[in-house]
Symmetry: C2
Subunit: 493 residues, 2 copies
């Protein structure tokens, strides 16, 4: 129950296993709109009560077992908090917990470190009411501050008019700098920053639209501070009611995103970060991780990238024994080709191959063209902890595990110059592995490679007659040739 | 085990319930290539044996319970049939059944009438070895012929060279006309025709690519005879090895599709059809339907369109009680709005709304943007029995059941002039229904409409407190206004 937005998120999970977001309701309640010394306004509270009753009815009807109803700074700071809590409680159905500023920072931090690979750096969380800045060292929360710098509050305090004047935006910038000045540890030291909240997601969407970005994925997007400033310029040039013409800016955020963008930019400046990695998870997910990982303290996902892959494996109901066998054969082949000198070894690259092996049948719920469906689904579901280039490569490998060989076409803007060759090599390994396991019998146990006379010979050890596996895998000679520049021979070990 | 292609298809089914294709292996075996008076060639038989062994191993490994191994004209007509059958039997694992010409026509017919709405007309089935023409009346097979006019055979007999001369193609045309002349019932009577086989699918893909067709779906595509003739011209202008440059023509069909196209065109001419509806199902599916519908005789799916929807509901694991409730509320609202004169009643239109209601959560396996995933999945999986305009409308409704209102953008080439307004109206009904059932409690039992003073008032009868449902549905006023040009009010009945 945020200051701008209420959101109900529903997770399905097996403790210590995988989890999925399975439902969500979102309402632009604007709880803190017009709030003053007497507290939150009655109309705002009435809107909030309606949303709370919907959420309570929804939880009851869908048989949700565990409910955390959380309120943040709008309620925390409200003079009429008791009346507000009564309204939010939906007649006793939702026991609302008001998070302290420290808890708000803590849960945001948990959401960020459990969905990114951030080990050292900062988390910036900008909501409608407050902003949190958290320092992270070795994945642990070092210290944090919370300040009432939320996008709704700053809009009302500094940019209440249709048009924002230069003086007004300057005053807002000064206010942000002053608000964090007392925390001596906040200084322009640089390093990584992860960013949480609707304002940052909105700015990322706007920047992507402006650049014609090829992926439709916000989580993991690297938003440059310069880009934020360019968007500040675009928004400030328009009256509030016309700002939603800017691509990516939704009408219900059109008025508050300018102030929010200025706060983001100033906070990035304060910690000396040139860019912020967009994090689509936040305090809601942080609260969830506490349950999911209980009794771990702190509740940290051991391996975020592995968790992301296993979450999608479960969501898309991949055949786990088959997927694991293909992934093992593919990475085993990768290692063998490195051992005989046909390629180097790159731990990250090998992990992408493993991920693609696990997910190669992600789209099989409609068999025809399931490689294309898998590509689409992986790309859209996303893999928190993987960068966008890595995500694109995994999706392209899923697409290229059968039928046409994959190419980087359409993804040049997120991929680097080495990724075309990388895609060729990894696709060759995956396709050979899939063919060795085409009968889904898991009969092929091991593959050894030999590099002889311009040809790669793969010696296959199998539990039963491998002739079919050898013949099927041999059909991938063109993929192999393209990737490694040599012929492919298969024989029984 | 066809004359050109071997294909293993795996269906999962509940008898009398739904079914899905869950796996497929395809090999361009070219069993009949080079066949002569001594029978099929040893190299071809060796290729076929390898494929058969793979299929047998696959069936064993994946625990497939019922196997039908079928061979068609290449084996039927082979002088060395006994040796061929020994090779195809995969050491006794696959008891191959050689279909007679009549059975081949019968199963192709079953595939066609169970995946289209063809009631009266013809089915044309062109394989690598033979062609079948079947007359259908009242969904029943009336009569059929089978002739050795397959694409591989005709290529070898008439167009064996790199370049096809005018004299050669003319001779082939004459040969086709003569081959069917003895069947007096084949005459240019016009009417609907459904077309089966790899040649027809390939021609459709080529025609779609040439026209920049917006859907990536062959089944249900209307292929004009003129378009086939245009493709004949394109292919005949190129040497065989260069024909795969033509978009949509795969290399392993590049040489045989010219002869196949000429046969298709001549057969369409013989029955007087201007176009053929592409049918992606064929004899394999026909054999499957016999098992699926047993003991029905003839095995006819009672309602092809409904079956298609229920197959996708099962494949995408939609929440059936929720989907059925949304579909019922949406169609109930549709009827009410017709009753009070806000729209006409159109049985087909109402069925599309029902289908979209059943499938609106098809993409929910990844919750975020599941409306977009559902659109993608429905469009790609297809709905046999629905025309392409109908398929596009259902997919657009799935996409537009939440978030942004749908538009026909991108689909203008398959939709008609009335479809934009139709989409608006159906989307409004679906969105209001989804909101009335947003709590998934199935509490709303009925909706009655009143048209008063330029406003539509919906009176909602619910089992429990409907205030949340009323409020949620009221948020769809803009969708309603766009569709029906009037405001929306909701009240308890």
């Amino acid at each position: 129950m945020g200051s701008n937005t209420f959101r109900l998120v529903v997770f399905r999970y097996r403790r210590g296993g995988s989890f999925q977001l399975v439902d969500e309701i979102r309402d632009a309640v604007r709880l803190s709109a017009g709030a003053g010394p007497k507290g939150l306004r009655p109309e705002a509270v009435a809107r909030a009560e309606r949303a709370a009753r919907l959420y309570a009815a929804f939880c009851r009807a869908t048989g949700i077992e565990e409910v955390d109803a959380l309120a943040t700074s709008a309620v925390r700071d409200a003079a009429n908090q008791r009346a507000v809590l009564r309204a939010l409680g939906a007649g006793g159905a939702l026991p609302v917990r008001v998070l302290s500023a420290e808890e708000e920072a803590w849960y945001g931090y948990l959401g960020a470190v459990n969905s990114t690979t951030l080990g050292d750096g900062h988390v910036i969380d900008l909501g409608g009411g407050s902003a949190q800045v958290t320092e992270v060292r070795g994945r642990r929360l070092q210290r944090s501050i919370s300040r009432p710098l939320g996008a709704v509050r700053m809009t009302e305090a500094f940019l209440p008019d249709e048009k924002a004047s230069r003086g007004q935006t300057k005053a807002l910038r000064r206010h942000v700098a002053e608000a964090v000045a007392d925390a001596g540890w906040i200084r322009p030291a640089g390093g990584r920053a992860a960013g949480i909240g609707g304002t940052i997601r909105t700015l990322a969407a706007m920047d992507q639209r402006r650049a014609g970005y090829p992926l439709d994925e916000l989580h993991g997007y690297r938003l440059r501070r310069e880009a934020v400033e360019a968007l500040v310029g675009d928004m400030a040039a328009l009256p509030a009611r016309e700002r939603s013409r800017l691509p990516g800016l939704k009408p219900d955020r059109a008025d508050i995103t300018l102030a929010g963008a200025i706060v983001v930019s100033e906070l990035l400046g304060a910690i000396g970060a040139d860019e912020v990695e967009v994090c689509a998870q936040g305090l809601r997910e942080g609260v969830f991780y506490e349950r999911f990982l209980a009794p771990a303290d702190p509740p940290l996902v051991p391996d975020v990238r592995r968790q992301s892959v296993m979450n999608l494996v479960a969501a898309f109901r991949c055949d786990v024994p088959h997927s694991e066998h293909v992934a093992a054969l593919a990475t085993g082949l990768y290692d063998e080709l490195a051992r005989v000198g046909l390629q180097g070894v790159d731990r990250r690259e090998r992990e992408l191959l493993w991920a693609a092996g696990m997910l190669h049948d992600a789209g099989v719920l409609d068999y025809n063209d399931h490689h294309k469906h898998g590509h689409y689904l992986v790309l859209n579901a996303g893999l928190p902890g993987f960068g966008h280039a890595e995500l694109a490569l995994v999706a392209l490998l899923v697409r290229g595990h059968r039928k046409a060989l994959p190419t980087v076409e359409g993804y040049e803007d997120v991929l680097g110059p080495e990724d075309a060759g990388r895609l060729d090599r990894l696709a060759a390994c995956l396709r050979v592995a899939e063919q060795l396991e085409r009968g889904r019998a898991r009969g092929v146990r091991e593959v050894r490679a030999q590099a002889v006379d311009g040809v790669a010979r793969l010696l296959v050890r199998a539990e039963d007659d491998p002739s079919v596996a050898l013949w099927s895998a041999g059909l991938e000679a063109p993929a192999f040739e393209r990737a490694f520049g040599r012929g492919l021979e298969l024989a029984e070990a």
